[in-house]
């Protein structure tokens, strides 16, 4: 019996011990759930946080991979103004605000009022700067840490006397502010344009706040370039770590331009505008065989890193489409004579040797048209008509064509329609329909030499490509490739029509080559066979009519004529040094071609022929 009791006691003891152990575990679980802090467990702040994947906007590169538009890390800097009550803490918060005003140059009145008033409890985090650069943030943190370390600052008139310089490593390393209680900094990416003004008229820019592309490639390809900053509620639960957002980078765009040549062309254009007292201008260089734009300079240009600067207000707001003169329409003047002659030759109404007696004026639709020097030039053929840029002769040629054929040819050349170049804000130009009620016959005469119609330089380049390229008109393009996630898309060459025959194109090219040589033009480049035509157009002033003192000077040319590798269009607006295209625009063509032949490795004709043999 004693033995039985002993066993019972042992069993009971064991059972009690195991029960206590089990109860302890259960009690601990209940305690955790019911404790004061236990209520916080399901709170959202402990379950996860909003996380944004660092997605970058696609890069814009030139044809050699040189970066034109990239990204840059900046920081949103927050200062915690809550949870203070002691005098020392109030002083601390005021100092953080004062330093932020000084370092970040805060001039937003609302934020200034807030930061400069007495700190109030219950105020939460305040973002003192949304786009703090690496330099500014490091400077701010250094000053904050000096303050905490009790290091006094040397100030002169309230300004710091220290020059703050950071090393290359510091420019690259991502800054961590987690060691500071009241300051936090969150990195994010913004657009950066390392070449500043270079090709800015092509690229456009991205608004900082909305991250939307504006103008140029940035606007046209906004959805392609856009890096989707995926923001998701990422759970702390490690079992759900795979739900954290992945970056969604934008596609990279490779342009057809060569940044070195683009810089050369911009340099030539800027110097010309300065030297001639012009107000604006553009130079387009295209390969007429495939439509690739090799350079597209426009002046004035803006530093698109500082697009908000007052200095660039007119350019950025694109008043009257001035952001890129290459896609802005204007009355081009005599360069259009090339196309009038092309139409007439193609239609068979004239031949190069067709004779025309220039009497100095011609009346069409009740309007008298005169030559640029208001003189009679006597017997002429079609080549000399072009060489001497005779308005009367070309107006007569247009009347020989008659309105329907004349405007049909202009339509075939693409006037009044956008070229489709991959740039935002392209103007379609303005060419009246000959059947419209407000059309008068006199316009046939004036349109023939480029007055009364509006055409963009890029439209002219496209139309002239038909003459340079044996009748085959190509669409100009500035996108070489789009590269996304390891895949590349290269838009093909697009032939957009054959407005004239190959024979007409060759005949006209010969005529223009001959006229350029006879003229001893300032556009000629020794050793190279070139064809081209100047243009001088008076500018229409509302209420005053056409003013001969303000002109648009232009030049279009291409070469080598037997195997055209380049087509250059120049437009210089309102030069004061001279009003003539032959004196202002033609030398620009020459300078551009001199750079171009070296850049593309095009030898002089004699050398090229010898090499080919």
């Amino acid at each position: 019996m004693n033995e039985k009791n002993t066993y019972n006691w042992r069993f009971i003891t064991m059972a009690v011990l195991f029960s206590l152990f089990g109860l302890a575990i259960i009690a601990q679980m209940v305690r955790i759930q019911l404790t004061v802090n236990g209520g916080d467990l399901p709170s959202s702040s402990l379950l996860g946080q909003w996380e944004t994947a660092a997605s970058r906007r696609g890069l814009i590169l030139d044809r050699n991979g040189h970066l034109l538009a990239g990204n840059q890390t900046v920081y949103a800097v927050d200062v915690n103004f809550s949870d203070f009550s002691q005098p020392g803490e109030i002083e601390e918060v005021k100092m953080l605000a004062d330093l932020a005003i000084e370092v970040f140059g805060i001039n937003n009145q609302y934020l200034l009022d807030f930061l400069q008033r007495e700190p109030r409890p219950l105020t939460k985090n305040i973002t003192v700067e949304r786009f703090a650069s690496q330099e500014d943030l490091l400077k701010y943190l250094a000053l904050v840490e000096d303050y905490y370390a009790g290091i006094p600052r040397e100030l002169v008139d309230g300004e710091s006397t220290e020059e703050f310089v950071i090393s290359l490593e510091e420019k690259v390393e991502v800054i961590d502010c987690s060691h500071l209680i009241r300051v936090s900094c969150t990195p994010h990416l913004i657009r950066s344009y390392p070449e500043k003004k270079l090709a800015s008229n092509i690229i456009g820019f991205v608004m900082r706040d909305t991250k939307q592309g504006q103008l140029g490639i940035e606007e046209k390809y906004d959805s392609t370039l856009f890096g989707n900053d995926r923001t998701l509620w990422a759970l702390w639960d490690p079992h759900k770590a795979d739900q954290a957002p992945d970056p969604d980078n934008g596609a990279n765009i490779v342009l057809t331009i060569d940044s070195v040549f683009q810089a050369d062309v911009e340099n030539i254009l800027d110097k010309t505008i300065k030297k001639t007292g012009a107000v604006a201008g553009t130079v387009i260089v295209m390969n007429p065989q495939n439509g690739e734009i090799l350079a597209m300079a426009s002046s004035p240009r803006a530093d698109i890193n500082q697009y908000w600067s007052e200095e660039y207000l007119d350019i950025i707001n694109n008043h009257e489409n001035v952001f890129n003169y290459a896609i802005r329409s204007y009355e081009p003047g005599s360069v259009v004579k090339v196309l009038t002659m092309a139409a007439a030759l193609d239609a068979g109404v004239v031949e190069p040797n067709t004779e025309f007696i220039d009497e100095g004026q011609i009346e069409i639709g009740g309007v008298t048209i005169k030559n640029w020097n208001e003189k009679a030039w006597g017997p002429q053929n079609m080549t000399s008509c072009l060489q001497n840029s005779l308005n009367v002769c070309l107006a007569w040629v247009a009347t020989e064509l008659e309105s329907e054929r004349f405007y049909n040819y202009f339509q075939d050349f693409g006037f009044g329609q956008m070229t489709g170049i991959e740039l935002s804000g392209e103007s379609p130009g303005l060419v009246k329909s000959y059947w419209s009620p407000d059309y008068t016959r006199s316009e046939l005469g004036t349109n023939a030499f480029g007055q009364g119609i509006e055409i963009t330089p890029i439209q002219m380049v496209k139309a002239i490509s038909a003459i340079a390229n044996n009748g085959e008109m190509v669409a100009p393009r500035i996108i070489h490739s789009i590269v996304d996630d390891g895949y590349r898309y290269t838009p093909p060459k697009t032939v957009v029509g054959h407005p004239i025959t190959a024979e007409t194109a060759r005949t006209l090219t010969d005529m223009l080559q001959e006229s350029l040589q006879n003229e001893s033009s300032l556009a000629l480049v020794p050793g190279y066979s070139l064809a081209g035509k100047t243009g001088t157009a008076e500018i229409y002033v509302p209420g005053q009519g056409y003013k001969s003192t303000a002109t648009n000077t232009s030049f279009v040319g291409w070469g080598p004529v037997d195997d055209p590798q380049f087509l250059v269009y120049v437009w210089i607006s309102k030069p004061s040094a001279s009003i003539w295209g032959s004196e202002i625009a033609a030398p620009v063509f020459k300078k551009v071609v001199e750079k171009l032949v070296i850049h593309l490795g095009i030898p002089p004709d004699a050398v090229r022929v010898a090499l080919e043999e």
């Binding site: 039985k4 066993y7 069993f11 064991m14 195991f18 994947a53 660092a54 970058r56 044809r63 991979g65 040189h66 970066l67 990239g70 990204n71 840059q72 890390t73 690496q134 290359l168 420019k171 690259v172 390393e173 991502v174 990195p187 990416l189 950066s192 390392p194 070449e195 500043k196 639960d237 490690p238 079992h239 759900k240 770590a241 795979d242 954290a244 970056p247 490779v254 940044s259 070195v260 810089a263 050369d264 070489h480 490739s481 590269v483 996630d485 390891g486 590349r488 290269t490 480049v525 020794p526 001199e594 750079k595 032949v597 070296i598 490795g601 030898p603 002089p604 050398v607 090229r608 090499l611």
Partner: protein
């Protein structure tokens, strides 16, 4: 006689209690083993999850650093900077008359500028579809048992 001995042995109060205790202990041991295994698997899952979260943070950090490096390279190789350096070194742009063209037998210039891209992009893949994330303990035990028994299949 044999049955009575067996019956006497099993009916002995001491033996009966030992059987009960043995069964309870066995159940506890099995439960403990199962719990330990579950904890080990859970701990591994948590550890992997944390590593994944840290890896993603590191990726973000590297993206920011990569962007900064690229930006700095672009700043240092800006056209005006390079032009200035070239001038300092005594270089200048050539004029057309100064360029000599030499025929190179067999060399043919390509018609197009070739844009180099990596066709087979090497992407760092983090496998988030780990079994530890969605495999129950029973499944895991079953899998382990299968692994143990696999050599004996077909015998």
């Amino acid at each position: 006689m044999k049955e009575s001995l067996s019956q006497a042995y099993s009916n002995s109060p001491r033996r009966q209690k030992l059987q009960i205790i043995g069964s309870v202990f066995m159940a506890i041991v099995i439960a403990a083993v199962m719990l330990i295994l579950y904890l080990v698997v859970s701990a591994r899952a948590v550890s992997m999850g944390r590593q994944l979260q840290q890896a993603k943070d590191q990726i973000d950090l590297l993206v920011y650093q990569g962007v900064n490096y690229r930006n700095q390279i672009a700043q240092q190789s800006r056209f005006d900077v390079m032009e200035e350096k070239a001038k300092e070194l005594g270089f200048r742009a050539p004029y057309p008359g100064e360029v000599f063209y030499v025929p190179v037998p067999g060399y043919k210039q390509g018609p197009e500028t070739h844009v180099e891209i990596q066709q087979d992009t090497q992407t760092a893949v983090i496998n988030v579809n780990l079994l530890e994330y969605h495999q129950s303990l029973i499944d895991w035990v079953g899998e382990q048992m299968n692994n143990i028994l696999r050599p004996f299949e077909g015998l």
